[in-house]
Symmetry: C2
């Protein structure tokens, strides 16, 4: 059993914790909390040990939560830490805690790539990550681009990929961010996602631009890919159908927008209504002059969760990528 | 003086009417109305003659509006009609009224291209449109793409253009449409805008995809263009600065989103806060591997208004495109 500590219990941390609890080769040693909030209370009711990050024991006591110790105690009890802090606290935590205590750790994609020995998407570069002390699971958007581009590259060869990312403005529970009624272009050229894809798909010729739009539900990517080998639309559909963690949304299902995908995930009774697969609309796949076009949607809160589970196994030296991916998928209800 | 009748007094019709009133070579003979609403009342107060489209005289009488006649009366008094009906009523009106009465007409971009003898963007193909009986001003998005692509093509030559359109969901006054919190991909490949650009930029190699997002303010386009001649970013900026009806939004002005452009237009005291120019963000223009990238914003309610004015002159045989464009721009405060 791999003993796991989770530092940071927000959007990603709470999901990684639930995913760890579903693994038969992992044991959740606990989570850390900055201060009390309802999420800590829910975790405590599930018997997840809570460790404090700051010295505010009374805040927890006042809400009936008995702490199991502080962050150092959690780290010492664990074989590996999954750091789910908001950027750039992952890097700070590494220098302050994980390095001095010689503890392995997984970081999230908000951190810069140099926080870790390697950046990670299971189906792209699991094998390169085996036994690494510090692994960075790339961001939701980078994970989404990497999954489909990796599949296309292995099957047909990618000459160049161009993507426009239409980014959701905030997560559904985030009531502080905007915009409410505006489109905000990114002036970063390329947006950071393109270079980030190359941290897991080495040398991929990919260029991305991005805009932010007033929605909370999912990111969308409009992709335009030139392939080495000619690919008929049907071949691409079949490739994506058999690609791990990619879901082809068939025609005529009335799942024609990000909101409808989220509703569909709820109807599937997925935990929290999450959809961990990258969703490609079959109806939007098309060829023009040797260029492949397709639209995909990314559930920003969820797609990296299975990657965190696989990254744990890779860091701990589990050598079979395919087996880890299947095991994770089965445990999380990804078919 | 060219005598002009306007059929349809909605988002576009009311703006074309105001623009016609500002031309020293045009006379507004009146507008048509389906039924009473506040816009008709405002027009009536401005002494614009109101003609009824349907037989509902009492509806207008009840609101104190004395009708000047019916649509046939307006058409007979006018040299040319600007049809601003929602699609597909332009085509219906043509068959029912303009053809039998042998009257010239301008149509809007919602109509199919075969409604007219030619599709129109002044700076692209004014000369081809001179003396034509039926001219279709292309849609707001097509106008936006055509203005910048035409400039690039004339200066550097366009090998191919790719654009992702991030479309506003509804106009600000439209309270019935969605989505509120979703991104809706278009499954049309290409979206109709690409082929529509070719109705004014003949043979242009352009392919567009589109999504709809929950905002009302402006459309946005993310463009990726391969040019025949290499163009430095500064050359592109200078080209757009001297291109008619294109506005370069400079860096460091805090005009970094569609909402801020709309606020800027209000601060310029533009009528209705309209911005008729296609806005290109200087900061977003960049080159990568021989491809030019830039983001532009389109005020969907306004950019086609000067085109309607020029289309009237072209249809009526005014032969100097440059003079018409300058005249229109000066009258409308476009610098």
């Amino acid at each position: 059993m791999i003993k796991i500590g989770i530092v940071g219990y927000g959007t990603i941390g709470k999901r990684v914790a639930d995913a760890v609890l579903l693994q038969d080769d992992m044991q959740l040693m606990g989570i850390t909390a900055n201060s009390f909030n309802y999420k800590i209370s829910l975790a405590y009711k599930k018997k997840i040990p809570v460790f404090n990050l700051k010295n505010n024991i009374n805040d927890f006591k006042a809400h009936g939560i008995e702490l199991a110790g502080n962050i150092n105690d959690l780290i010492k009890q664990s074989d590996i830490i999954v750091d789910c802090s908001p950027k750039p606290y992952g890097k700070e935590n590494k220098e302050r805690y994980y390095l001095p205590l010689k503890k392995k750790a997984i970081f999230q994609g908000g951190e810069k790539k140099d926080v870790a020995d390697i950046s990670f998407v299971a189906q792209c570069n699991y094998n390169d990550s085996i036994g690494k002390d510090y692994i960075r699971v790339v961001s939701c958007n980078t994970t989404g681009l990497s999954r489909t581009l990796n599949a296309l590259d292995r099957e047909f060869g990618v000459v160049r990929a161009r993507a426009t990312l239409i980014r959701r403005a905030a997560d559904p529970g985030d009531v502080k961010k905007g915009p409410l009624n505006s489109i905000i272009p990114s002036f970063e050229l390329p947006s950071h996602h393109g270079p980030d894809v190359r941290t897991v798909l080495y040398g991929m010729e990919v260029f991305t631009t991005a805009v932010v739009v007033p929605t909370t539900l999912m990111h969308m990517h409009n992709l335009n890919v030139v392939l080495k080998k000619k690919a008929e639309v049907e071949e691409v559909v079949n490739l994506f159908k058999r690609t791990e963690r990619v879901k082809v949304i068939p025609k005529n299902q009335k799942i024609d927008s990000t909101a409808q995908i989220m509703e569909y995930a709820k109807d599937l009774h997925r935990i929290r209504g999450d959809i961990m697969e990258i969703c490609v609309w079959e109806q939007g796949i098309g060829n023009y002059n040797g260029e492949l076009f397709f639209p995909q949607a990314v559930h920003q809160e969820a797609d990296v969760i299975p990657e965190n589970i696989d990254a744990i196994r890779a860091a701990m030296g589990f050598k079979d990528a395919v087996k880890s991916i299947k095991k994770t998928n089965n445990s999380l209800g990804i078919n």
